[in-house]
Structures are given as structure tokens and as C-alpha cells.
């Protein structure tokens, strides 16, 4: 069942037994269980799974609903759980259960504890630095508990005297879409719905900026004769209407000008989406899936960490990279040099040079949103 899935989803460990059979059925390398014979492992439920399966069988789907769990939704149909359950009982998993019980108990408890604290934590925007550290520690630990893989998540705050801005050279862009792909990979966007933050609009030469006639979903060789290209994404407006309308302040503008979303605080009303004049926001209409090997493990709480279904997301100018002094993934991926990113407050930055020396313009300036995203031509 799990073989033909192209993304990663934790399957209770029932189907991907082989990977975790290193030392013990409980999937933990350290700890007090060391006695499990290897041959048995394939057939049996470890105590932890046993416990999980029992919970699943008794309270079933309800369990999947609570906020955080949606991220790591445990895909499992009840019948197979029962089957495995009975089978393992018959073979005599009882022995394993007792031998591992201490470790298991603490693991499951820890998971439950993390889920509980995550469900009832506050808004990230209002957290102190310790609280921020607390939640990212929980999220990292939770990922480890569920997948046995480690991720690295930071909660880096905005640096002082930094205001990020972006410039796009229309003359250079050839529509290669390397930026789009780099963005999807960098930011762990849902592969199923093919979510993309960036849209490249292909327009006809000589017609000017006719967005309504443009094609933002082309599948042909580029650059196409007689066309030019223009990219859009979230413009990180300085006066962002999307922030004003959010009823719970789940989205806000950071000190360095990034407009970000707390995915755990968003209630999914999509008011911000209606308010954005630039088509900058994306919604998780179903559970986002990223194949585990493809998950970008360098994450930021406000950036590319895993999302869940029913929340808003969007371009963050790759907060996980830019706050570490790197360029966003799209800038780095662009082979033509059409994309320029930098600190608007630094008089020596390239972006400042562009703003001062090129004839720049922004989209829909009449709306007063003050995008920090400029277009220019050579």
C-alpha cells in the first residue's frame, strides 16, 4: 500500500518496518529494549505501535483532527490495525511488550505531551524568545519521534537595521522557471496540488503589461518567440492589507519587512487571501505532502517548516535563508540574474543601486500597499 506513495507519510510503522528494525521493534535505537530477536520484528507490532493501534482502534479518526497531528497525520486504516493486532497477539508479542514497556510508555507520553502543548500554545508573534525556543524544540523533537529523522529549525528574529527588498529585471527573465522549482523544493510546498508561490506570466511583445492576456501556466520551450516574462509572488507590502484583515493576527509584518504567517495560529478563514491584491497567498486545501527524502530539513518556524491542512502560506523571502545572510532560493536559482535581493537600508547593496539608477516601478501602486518588490528594465 505504501509502496506506490510518492510522498512520505508515517504509516504507524506497520508497512515500513524494515527501515526501523535496526535494534528493536519500538524503533528506538537507545533505551532499555535490546532483547528482541530480529526475525520476529517483521511480523509484530512493537509495543509503541501496539499502543498506538489500540488508541486508533478505540478512538479512531478523532485523533487525527487535533491541530498539530494533521501535519504528521498517521495514515492507517482500522481494519489492518485490527488484523495486525490480532496477529501479533497470537505470535506472542506480549513478551516484547513487557520488555520494552518502559521506553514505550515514555515515548508515547512524550508525543502526547508535545501534541497537547502545541495545540494550546499561544501566538508566535507574542511569544518571548524562550517560548519561541520551546516551541521549535518541541516541533523538532516531534518530527524526530515520528520519523526518526532530525530536522533543524530556528526561530531567528529579525536583525537590526535590515529591511528586505526585491527587484526583478524584466529584460533578463527568459521564463525558465528555475526559480519556481527551487522555491518548491526549498519551501517544502505541497507536491500533490503542485502549489507554487511564484507565477511567471508570459506576455506578448508590443502589447504592454496585459496580465489578463498573459499565460501563467505554460508548458512549452522558452523563451518563446515574441514574448517577454514577468514573475510575481508575495510582494511583502509595507502596508499589507492581508495583515489588517486577519481576525487573529496570525499574519504580520516582521521588523525586517517580511510578511509572515504563524501556521499554527491561522484559523483558515482565508480573509487575507481575499484582501491580497497580488495573488500572493496560497491555501492548503488538503493535507500537504512532501516525500520524506525531499524534505528540506533546514527550517525556520515562520518559513518552510511543515504545514498542515487548512492553513494559509506564502512566500517568506526564504526567511530561513535570508536571516542567515543568504539569498532566497529563487534568486540563487535564476540563471539569468533577473532577480535581485538585498537590504534596503544598506546604501551599498545591489538592490539600492538598482532603485537609485534604474527606472523602477511597482504593480498596482494606486492601492497604497507599498510593495517592497520593484520591476525594472535594462
Amino acid at each position: 500500500m505504501s509502496d506506490n506513495k510518492k510522498w512520505y507519510s508515517l504509516d504507524l510503522g506497520l508497512n515500513n518496518k524494515k527501515e526501523s528494525s535496526g535494534s528493536c521493534g519500538c524503533g528506538k535505537s537507545e533505551g532499555s529494549c535490546s532483547s528482541t530477536p530480529k526475525e520476529q520484528v517483521e511480523e509484530e507490532l512493537s509495543p509503541e505501535e501496539f499502543y498506538e493501534a489500540a488508541i486508533n482502534a478505540s478512538i479512531g479518526e478523532e485523533r487525527h483532527r487535533d491541530g498539530f497531528e494533521q501535519v504528521f497525520d498517521v495514515k492507517m486504516d482500522r481494519r489492518s490495525a485490527f488484523k495486525k493486532l490480532t496477529a501479533s497477539l497470537l505470535i506472542g508479542a506480549g513478551a516484547v511488550t513487557t520488555s520494552c514497556s518502559v521506553t514505550t510508555g515514555s515515548d508515547t507520553k512524550e508525543k502526547a505531551q508535545i501534541d497537547w502543548e502545541e495545540q494550546f500554545k499561544g501566538n508566535y508573534k507574542l511569544m518571548t524568545d524562550e517560548e519561541k525556543q520551546g516551541t521549535i524544540n518541541r516541533l523538532m523533537r516531534s518530527y524526530e519521534l515520528r520519523t526518526d529523522k532530525k530536522i533543524n529549525m530556528t526561530a531567528e528574529n529579525a536583525a537590526e537595521d535590515v529591511l528586505f527588498g526585491y527587484a526583478f529585471n524584466i529584460s533578463k527573465c527568459q521564463g525558465y522557471m528555475n526559480c519556481v522549482n527551487a522555491c518548491v523544493e526549498e519551501n517544502n510546498q505541497d507536491r500533490n496540488s503542485e502549489m507554487q508561490y511564484i507565477r511567471i506570466h508570459e506576455m506578448k511583445d508590443g502589447e504592454g503589461f496585459k496580465f489578463d492576456k498573459a499565460d501563467d501556466n505554460y508548458y512549452h520551450e522558452v523563451p518563446a518567440e515574441g514574448h517577454f516574462y514577468m514573475g510575481t509572488q508575495c510582494f511583502h507590502c509595507d502596508n499589507p492589507p492581508c495583515v489588517e484583515v486577519c481576525p487573529v493576527q496570525a499574519t504580520w509584518k516582521e521588523e525586517d519587512g517580511l510578511v509572515v504567517i504563524d501556521y499554527d495560529w491561522c484559523v483558515g478563514c482565508r480573509y487575507c487571501m481575499a484582501a491580497c491584491p497580488y495573488d500572493g497567498r496560497r491555501f492548503n486545501w488538503s493535507k500537504p505532502e512532501v516525500p520524506e527524502p525531499e524534505v528540506n530539513k533546514n527550517q525556520h518556524y515562520l518559513g518552510n517548516r511543515m504545514r498542515k491542512k487548512g492553513v494559509m502560506e506564502k512566500c517568506t523571502f526564504c526567511v530561513q535563508r535570508t536571516r542567515k545572510g543568504k539569498n532566497p532560493a529563487c534568486v540563487e536559482a535564476c540563471p539569468t540574474g533577473a532577480r535581485i535581493f538585498g537590504n534596503l537600508l544598506d546604501p551599498n547593496s545591489t538592490i539600492r543601486w538598482v532603485l537609485e539608477n534604474k527606472k523602477v516601478f511597482r504593480l498596482k501602486e494606486d492601492l497604497g500597499t507599498e510593495p517592497k518588490f520593484w520591476y525594472f528594465m535594462d
Binding site: R65, V245, P247, W265, M273, P277, Y278, V311
Partner: protein, 408 residues
């Protein structure tokens, strides 16, 4: 303590009345329950799969739920048209109608809240919106205003009729000094809920179709046509199924309100159409899409071209006294008006706001079966709530339900 005892007995008595009734009544309630169950099943699918079970997408991100929400806010607000004359102007004719109207408002508000919850991506974290526990982005977000005014209005509309019925239940007169101030507040409040809901859309500079000053007033006018229309229809049903006496005079007065509101609504429609089509700009594209379709995309045409003729026809017929005073014709007109405004203020308002998108992309929207199931389920819930409320109220007003003090 005494009041509490009376309350307990009231609850017991009303439970008694709502579980008893004619065969038609039981059939009706059974039918509603069935529909509600279907709706719940559809909602469970939506919870499981996420909102991808609906027809909405990144391009059209609000649909049937928010459309119905918008329309029902109007229905709820309309109760005020009956409250005002009765309580404040001491117009006797409206007295019986007003309890029904307020019951309707309560049912409509409950449906509104249900539609908002159904539309949420994360219903399990809705507590983030509760002031005090969560973070309430007041006064910046119009949605928080809407939460406040809707809940406030719900409170007012529950407490006033409750007070009156509670007194009548004990065979006492309701004190004017208590409920008249409440009624006056609710008059302003009703206008408030509707304006605030209009501002929800009107305040978005990103959507030119909504971002126009006439939206608020048009909301009011259409609400005061659709709401009382529904009340007339409900009164007609109650009149024929219960012993509750509603005079022709009452219905005719409400019909007057409907007529005036429908006429004003029509004038505003003409003004809007003139602006959009006399000197069309880039911003008129949504209106073009709604009325004529754009680039071959025309999913809304059948809807809007059902709504407009119904609206015009009903308004014209109602304008003539002779037709309006014929109850049969009146009922038909009210029904037509109700349907027309449901389309216009729901679908016809919300969906074109997203089409074309910010960069001119046209992606159409059609609700899915799940979405329709949930919607119908919520309507059934509203009807269910209203039937219970109305049955209790009628029981008390007819004197069938009375408090019997055991000690006395």
C-alpha cells in the same frame, strides 16, 4: 430561586410541546433531522479531506458557505423591521409577528455562525478567535467586528423574546421599561450587523467588484426585502397550521415594507449597472463576467438571469396595491423575491468578487456535492431551530403553556 424554578418548569413544558404534535409536524421534524444528518456526514468528509472537498480553490477562495452567510445576515437583520413599529411605535398589528420575526432572526444567526465555522480551515483552533483566550485583532479586522455584532445581536434577539415569553408564561405582563430600551438597541444593532458585514467586503481594495460605496446600502435594502418576505411566508404557514391568529392586516403591512425595500433595491441595482456598463473600466470586468460572461466563461449566467427577472417582476407586481392585497399573489411574489435576492446577494455577490483574479485569470467556481450537502444541512438546522422556537412561543402566546405553581 423562584425564577429558576419557573425557568425549569418552562424548559420541561416546552420540551413537552415540541415533542408533541400532529403527524405533519412529526414528519417535518423527521425530515429535517434526516437532512441534518446528511449534512453532518458531508461535513465529516470535509473534515477528513480538508476544504479540497469543496469547489473552492486559490483563485476563488470563498464560495457557497460565505454566500449563504452573507444572505442570512440580511435575513436576521430584517427582524428589526417588525420590532420597531411594535415596541416603539406601539403599533398593535405587529405584535404577534414580532415574536416570529425574532425567532427567525435567532435561527438565521445560528445558521450564519454555522456557515462561518463550516468555511474555516481549522475548526479545532477556532478558540484563537475568542477574545481574552486567543488574540482578537480588534479593531483592525472587520471580521472581528462581525463576530462581535453577530453575537451581540444573537444575545439581544434571544433575551427580548425570552423575557416577554417568560412573563407571559407566568401570566404576568411584560414590563415596557425593560424591553423597549432593548428593542431600540436592537434596531440600531440590526443596521449595524448588516453594514459591518458589507464592510467586510467593501473594505478590500484588492477586489474592485466589492470595493464600492453602494455595497452597504444595497445590502440593507435587499435584506429588508428578503427578510420580511420570508417572514410573510412563515406567517402564512403558521396561520394555516396552528391556531395562532395572524390578521390579514399584519401581513399586508409587512408586505408594504417588502415593497418599499424592493423598490429601493431596484433603484440601486440600476445605478450600479449604469456605472459598470455606461463607461466600463478595467474594474467592470467582474460585472461583465456576472452578467454576460468573459472569454467564454459564463457559469453564473443562468443564476443571475434567473434572479434579475424574478426580482423585477416581483417588485413590479408588488407595486400595485390590487395585486399586493391579494394574498395568493403576495405569497408568490414574496417567494420570487426571496429566491432572487438569495442568488443576487449570495452567489452573485461573492463569486464574481474573485473573478477575474488579481491578475485577470478567470477560474470558475462550482460547488461540489459535499458543499451543497453541508449547506442544505445547515439550512435544515435553521428550520429545525426555528420550528422549536416558534412552537414554544406560540404555545405560550396561545395560553397552552402556563406556569403552574405547585404550592399555590
Amino acid at each position: 430561586m423562584g425564577a429558576f424554578k419557573v425557568f425549569k418548569s418552562l424548559v420541561v413544558d416546552s420540551l413537552d410541546t415540541i415533542t408533541k404534535g400532529s403527524k405533519t409536524y412529526h414528519l417535518w421534524m423527521g425530515f429535517l433531522t434526516l437532512v441534518m444528518l446528511i449534512g453532518m456526514y458531508c461535513y465529516s468528509i470535509q473534515l477528513e479531506e480538508g476544504l479540497s472537498a469543496t469547489g473552492m480553490s486559490d483563485r476563488v477562495s470563498w464560495g457557497l458557505y460565505i454566500s449563504n452567510f452573507t444572505f442570512l445576515v440580511g435575513v436576521a437583520a430584517a427582524a428589526v423591521m417588525l420590532v420597531m413599529p411594535t415596541y416603539v411605535l406601539k403599533d398593535i398589528d405587529f405584535k404577534q409577528a414580532v415574536l416570529i420575526g425574532e425567532g427567525l432572526a435567532v435561527a438565521a444567526l445560528i445558521m450564519c455562525l454555522a456557515f462561518v465555522v463550516a468555511d474555516m480551515g481549522g475548526p479545532s483552533v477556532l478558540w484563537h478567535m475568542i477574545p481574552g483566550i486567543g488574540v482578537f485583532n480588534f479593531p483592525n479586522s472587520m471580521l472581528t467586528w462581525d463576530v462581535i455584532v453577530l453575537n451581540g445581536y444573537l444575545f439581544i434577539n434571544i433575551s427580548i423574546p425570552f423575557y416577554i415569553l417568560f412573563k407571559h408564561y407566568q401570566n404576568k405582563e411584560a414590563k415596557k421599561s425593560v424591553y423597549v430600551p432593548g428593542a431600540i438597541i436592537s434596531v440600531f444593532w440590526a443596521v449595524g450587523i448588516h453594514l459591518v458585514t458589507a464592510f467586510l467586503y467593501q473594505g478590500l481594495q484588492a477586489r474592485p467588484f466589492w470595493n464600492n460605496a453602494l455595497l452597504g446600502p444595497r445590502f440593507l435594502a435587499s435584506a429588508f426585502a428578503a427578510g420580511p418576505s420570508l417572514i410573510i411566508l412563515v406567517l402564512a404557514v403558521i396561520r394555516s397550521f396552528t391556531a395562532f391568529k395572524i390578521e390579514d392586516k399584519t401581513i399586508k403591512k409587512i408586505a408594504m415594507i417588502v415593497t418599499v425595500a424592493a423598490q429601493i433595491n431596484l433603484i440601486m441595482l440600476v445605478s450600479e449597472l449604469f456605472k459598470e456598463f455606461y463607461a466600463p473600466t478595467h474594474h467592470s470586468e467582474s460585472a461583465y463576467y456576472l452578467f454576460f460572461g468573459l472569454h467564454g466563461k459564463n457559469a453564473l449566467l443562468p443564476w443571475i438571469w434567473t434572479a434579475i427577472p424574478l426580482n423585477v417582476l416581483a417588485t413590479v407586481i408588488l407595486t400595485f396595491n390590487k395585486f399586493r392585497n391579494n394574498l395568493k399573489v403576495l405569497y408568490v411574489c414574496c417567494f420570487m423575491l426571496f429566491v432572487a435576492i438569495w442568488i443576487e446577494k449570495g452567489f452573485g455577490l461573492i463569486v464574481p468578487g474573485f473573478i477575474p483574479g488579481p491578475y485577470g485569470k478567470i477560474v470558475e467556481y462550482l460547488p461540489t456535492g459535499v458543499e451543497i450537502g453541508v449547506t442544505i444541512g445547515i439550512w435544515a438546522m435553521g428550520a429545525f431551530v426555528f420550528t422549536i422556537l416558534a412552537k414554544t412561543a406560540i404555545g405560550i402566546e396561545l395560553g397552552e403553556l402556563r406556569y403552574k405553581d405547585k404550592k399555590a
